[in-house]
């Protein structure tokens, strides 16, 4: 990997996400920022995908189960070339191809529609199993929120993945320690997420979710689970706050200052 290029991609994804939300006037900024780096690594260095052939049956798949962070994924897809970057400004406009929850029928490059938390891991397991049953050599990545792990369906699938010993799917947990109503510790304790997956017998790694080298080195091992420790709102200065940052109103001034700060940090 070229770390500089991947970090640039992450910065670009953040800026495009902020631009999209600025255009809409609001957005799920916190959780979109915490996955910006892993999206950059996946689309720059890891996944075999072709923006000109988004439905290639032999591609690698990404399921963003925390579907409310679709603006982050749309930014990554625009950066990858699935559609023009300017199109991110149509986020949630009437008739848009880019709704703010993932929609595979509307957005080129979105593999699976999501929005009802807890379902993405099951759908991803079906994609992985379907590919394996058809002899297709492909890897499936699914990104879950740590708050999302409240949903019991995740643990049904964890047991299923462990039982089947599936090796063509990696579950990535965005452990930003916050959910809509506050810190996960206060809303409903997560305990040790990695240990919970390990208790199922799933090969589980952990890394800093904002260190692109660490993310790359973990993902190339194709673990069953990667718990990436992140900060909700990371990289967007107005969202790097201890208070509510799940969903924010975003003004032109806030967006401009945040993008300038992203560029400053990239060159610092």
């Amino acid at each position: 990997m070229n770390i500089t290029e991947t970090r640039k991609a992450a910065a670009e994804i953040r800026k495009l996400t902020i631009a999209a939300m600025q255009s809409a006037g609001y957005g799920h900024i916190g959780g979109s920022m915490s996955i910006a780096d892993v999206l950059a690594v996946l689309y720059t260095d890891i996944m075999r995908v072709d923006p000109k052939n988004p439905r290639d049956p032999n591609r690698d798949w990404l399921v963003l189960s925390k579907g409310h962070c679709a603006p982050g994924l749309c930014a990554a897809l625009a950066h990858k070339g699935y559609f023009p970057k300017e199109e991110v400004l149509t986020l949630n406009q009437n008739g848009t191809r880019l709704p703010s929850h993932c929609d595979r029928l509307k957005t080129p490059g979105v593999d699976i529609s999501t929005g009802s938390l807890g379902q993405g891991i099951s759908m991803a397991s079906g994609v992985a199993l379907g590919n394996a049953m058809q002899g297709i050599n492909s890897h499936v990545y699914v990104i879950l929120g740590d708050g999302e792990l409240n949903e019991g369906q995740n643990w049904e699938t964890a047991q299923f993945l462990a039982h089947r010993q599936m090796d063509n799917i990696t579950v990535i947990v965005d452990a930003n320690q916050r959910q809509l109503d506050g810190y996960t510790e206060d809303v409903c304790k997560q305990f040790d997420i990695a240990e919970k997956f390990r208790a199922f017998g799933l090969h589980t790694l952990e890394c800093d979710g904002h260190d692109v080298r660490a993310l790359h080195d973990a993902l190339v091992q194709k673990p069953a689970v990667l718990v990436m420790h992140t900060e909700k709102g990371h990289g967007c200065n107005f969202a790097e706050i201890p208070g509510f940052n799940h969903y924010m109103v975003i003004t032109d001034d806030m967006a401009r200052a945040a993008c300038e700060e992203i560029d400053r940090r990239l060159t610092a």
């Binding site: 379902q119 099951s122 397991s125 079906g126 379907g130 699938t157 047991q159």
Partner: protein, 320 residues
């Protein structure tokens, strides 16, 4: 197309056996068809499929939410999953997964719900689907089929296997009254006209088709000529058949092994009120949960009988 009433007997073939044979036949034609189960393979009768195609069956264990979500993912890769569970678990338990994972993103998933309505018998109220059709009717684009017997069931399976979309088929697992002759023809979405009369129209599905034929005979004894429609496809409902029968007869009775609200009766009422308002009565379960009992006891208790259909037919005729 049907046997004379006096020749209609309990079939020697179980519906689950007819189902599995039909699924195997479909799978022999289409190698993308796979079976998915949630720990009721024995009850649903799908074991022979797994024996025939060991690499094309997935028993997930008792996790319907996961299983239906997984079916959606499998469909996204081009497979055609058939998911089996008791009707309450195939629909109510996994409703959000059916709605969003399967239907919302236009995937091709088939849901088979066993133990329709009172055929759940000794499993009682917790296992008695009386609202599954109502739930599924609210899903845009979903198709709902309830075959009357083992002669019709393979046509439903063949249609599901060859038509894109979310389909739900509910039926009993056990032996049903064999209404249809072997050579009967079925078109999904088109009602079968089992009798033509001019005074009242009975519209039924599933086990109530036999009861409708019994009601037809009871009414005939009183000199009342009734039309009988087997509305095996509850959604999309055959509007033309409903309107035609309502115009010809001027009164309608629906009969379903389901909550009288939200299922066949509601679907027919919606057509009538918009196109051809005529007096209508419903036979079904009114504001009650299921309970344990033999099928005969439960049909009597909830009024799912030919006698009740005939009574309501006369009542509807009296409101003309």
């Amino acid at each position: 197309m049907t046997y004379p009433l006096e020749q209609i007997k309990l079939d020697t073939v179980e519906l689950r056996a007819a189902y599995c044979a039909a699924l195997i036949a479909a799978a022999e034609q289409n190698d993308r068809i796979v079976a998915v189960d949630a720990d009721v393979q024995f009850s649903m009768g799908t074991k022979p499929f797994y024996e025939k195609f060991p690499r094309r069956g997935v028993n997930c264990g008792i996790m319907e939410a996961h299983a239906v979500g997984m079916c959606a993912g499998m469909s996204a890769t081009g497979l055609v999953p058939f998911f089996h569970a008791f009707g309450v678990f195939a629909t109510r338990r996994a409703f959000d997964q059916i709605f969003l994972a399967c239907a919302y993103q236009d995937l091709n998933v088939k849901l088979i719900g066993g133990d329709a309505g009172v055929t759940a018998t000794m499993n009682g109220g917790t296992h008695m689907p009386l609202e599954d059709m109502g739930l599924m009717r609210t899903i845009p684009g979903a198709t709902i089929i309830e075959p009357a017997d083992a002669a019709m069931l393979p046509a439903a399976v063949q249609h599901m296997a060859s038509t894109w979309g979310v389909h739900y088929m509910r039926s009993s697992r056990r032996n049903a009254m064999r209404v249809y002759r072997d050579d009967a023809q079925f078109t999904i979405g088109k009602a079968n006209v089992l009798a033509r009369g001019s005074e009242v129209c009975i519209i039924a599905c599933g086990i109530m088709v036999y009861e409708a034929l019994r009601a037809h005979a009871m009414l005939a004894q009183q000199g009342i000529r009734a039309t009988v429609l087997d509305m095996h496809t509850i959604k999309p409902i055959d509007e033309a058949a409903v309107i035609h029968a309502a115009m010809a007869c001027g009164a309608v009775v629906t009969a379903e092994n389901h909550n009288a609200m939200s299922g066949l009766g509601s679907a027919v009422a919606e057509v009538l009120v918009e196109h051809c308002p005529v007096p209508m009565e419903r036979v079904g379960v009114f504001e009650q949960f299921g309970e344990v009992g033999t099928q005969g006891y439960l049909q009597e208790k909830f009024g799912l009988t030919g006698e009740e259909i005939a009574r309501k037919a006369i009542k509807a005729m009296g409101r003309k």
